[in-house]
Amino acid sequence: MIRRLGVLTRWQRFLLAAFLLVGIATGIFGARAVVSAIYWSQHRDDPIVGWMTIGYVAHSHDVPPQVLQQAIGLPTGVRDRRPLSEIAAAEGRSLGEVVAMLEAAIAAERAAGGGGAPP
C-alpha cells in the first residue's frame, strides 16, 4: 500500500489526504446530525441556555411567564426582552443559578398540574 502511494505525484497525494480527511469530517457531521435529531425527538423541551428570554423559556416549556419571573424575583406582568445571561448579571447571580431556579419553577408548576407535557 505504502509503496503504491509512492507512484502518486505530490499533488495527487495531497488530494488523496484531503479527500480522506474531509470525508472523515463529513461522516462525523452526518453522525452528529442524526444524534441531535434523535436527542430532539426524545427531549421535546429545549435546554435552557443564556440567549433565551423569559418569554421564550415560558413558551418552550409551556408555563406562564409570570411563574418564571416570580421564581427569579423579577416583577411580573411586564415584558422583559433581556436574555437570561443579562438578567443573571443584573441580579448578581451566575447563569447556572438562574437556570436551576427556572428549572425548579417549571418542575413545580408541572407537578401542580399547570404546565404542559413533561420532557
Partner: protein
C-alpha cells in the same frame, strides 16, 4: 455570542437583524441560523412583525454579499493575475474563470442557504473572477430570500424548540458542505489520475 445578538434584536428589532446578517455575509461567523430561528419564534409569539423581519433580513444579507463582491472585484483581478504569473498558473486561472462564468449563478444561489458557511468566500471569488454583477445579484437575492425565509419559517413552525432545531440544522449544513468538498476532491483526484497517470512519473512533483 448569541446572547449579545439576541439582546440587540430585543432592543433594536428587525434593524439589528439586518446589521447582523450583513456583517455575517461579509464573513464574520455569527450564529445567524440560531438567531433567525429565534426571531421566527418571536414572530410566532406575536412579538415581531413577519414582513419587517423578512424585508430587513434579506436587505441586510444582500448588502453584506455586495460588500464582499466589491471587495473581491476592486482588489482582486490584478492580484489574481499577479499570483497566476508568479506561480505559472495562468491556465488554471483561465479554467477557474470559465468554470465560475458557467456555474457562478447556480453556485451563488446554493451557497446562500444550503451551503451557507461558504457564502462569504463565494462572494469574494465572484468579485475576483469576476462573475457578471447582474448575475451575481439576481442569484444572490434569490438565495437570500430562500435563506431568510426558510430559517424564519422553520423558527415559526418549531417556535418552542429552536435550540434543538438549530443543533440539527447546524450539523446537517456542515455535513452538506463536507459532502460537496469530498465529492469535489474525489473528482479532482480521479481526473488527475486519468490525465497524468499514477505510473509515468513516479514521485515527480506535479
Amino acid at each position: 455570542m448569541t446572547e449579545q445578538l439576541m439582546a440587540a434584536v430585543g432592543d433594536w428589532g428587525a434593524l439589528a437583524l439586518a446589521v447582523i446578517l450583513a456583517i455575517n455575509c461579509v464573513g464574520v461567523p455569527f450564529p445567524s441560523s440560531l438567531l433567525m430561528l429565534a426571531v421566527g419564534s418571536l414572530v410566532a409569539q406575536g412579538e415581531m412583525d413577519l414582513a419587517a423581519v423578512l424585508a430587513f433580513g434579506v436587505a441586510g444579507a444582500v448588502a453584506g454579499d455586495q460588500a464582499g463582491y466589491f471587495i473581491g472585484r476592486l482588489g482582486g483581478p490584478p492580484l489574481a493575475e499577479r499570483l497566476a504569473r508568479r506561480f505559472r498558473a495562468e491556465a488554471t486561472l483561465a479554467r477557474a474563470r470559465g468554470f465560475i462564468d458557467r456555474w457562478g449563478g447556480t453556485g451563488v444561489f446554493f451557497t446562500r442557504w444550503l451551503l451557507s458557511p461558504t457564502g462569504p468566500y463565494v462572494n469574494l471569488v465572484s468579485g475576483l473572477a469576476p462573475l457578471a454583477w447582474i448575475r451575481f445579484t439576481v442569484a444572490g437575492v434569490a438565495g437570500e430570500v430562500v435563506w431568510v425565509g426558510l430559517y424564519v419559517s422553520l423558527g415559526m413552525l418549531f417556535s418552542d424548540s429552536v435550540q434543538n432545531l438549530a443543533a440539527v440544522l447546524g450539523n446537517l449544513t456542515w455535513f452538506l458542505v463536507g459532502l460537496a468538498a469530498t465529492l469535489a476532491l474525489g473528482y479532482a483526484l480521479v481526473r488527475s489520475l486519468r490525465h497524468h497517470g499514477a505510473d509515468r512519473r513516479p514521485g515527480a512533483a506535479r
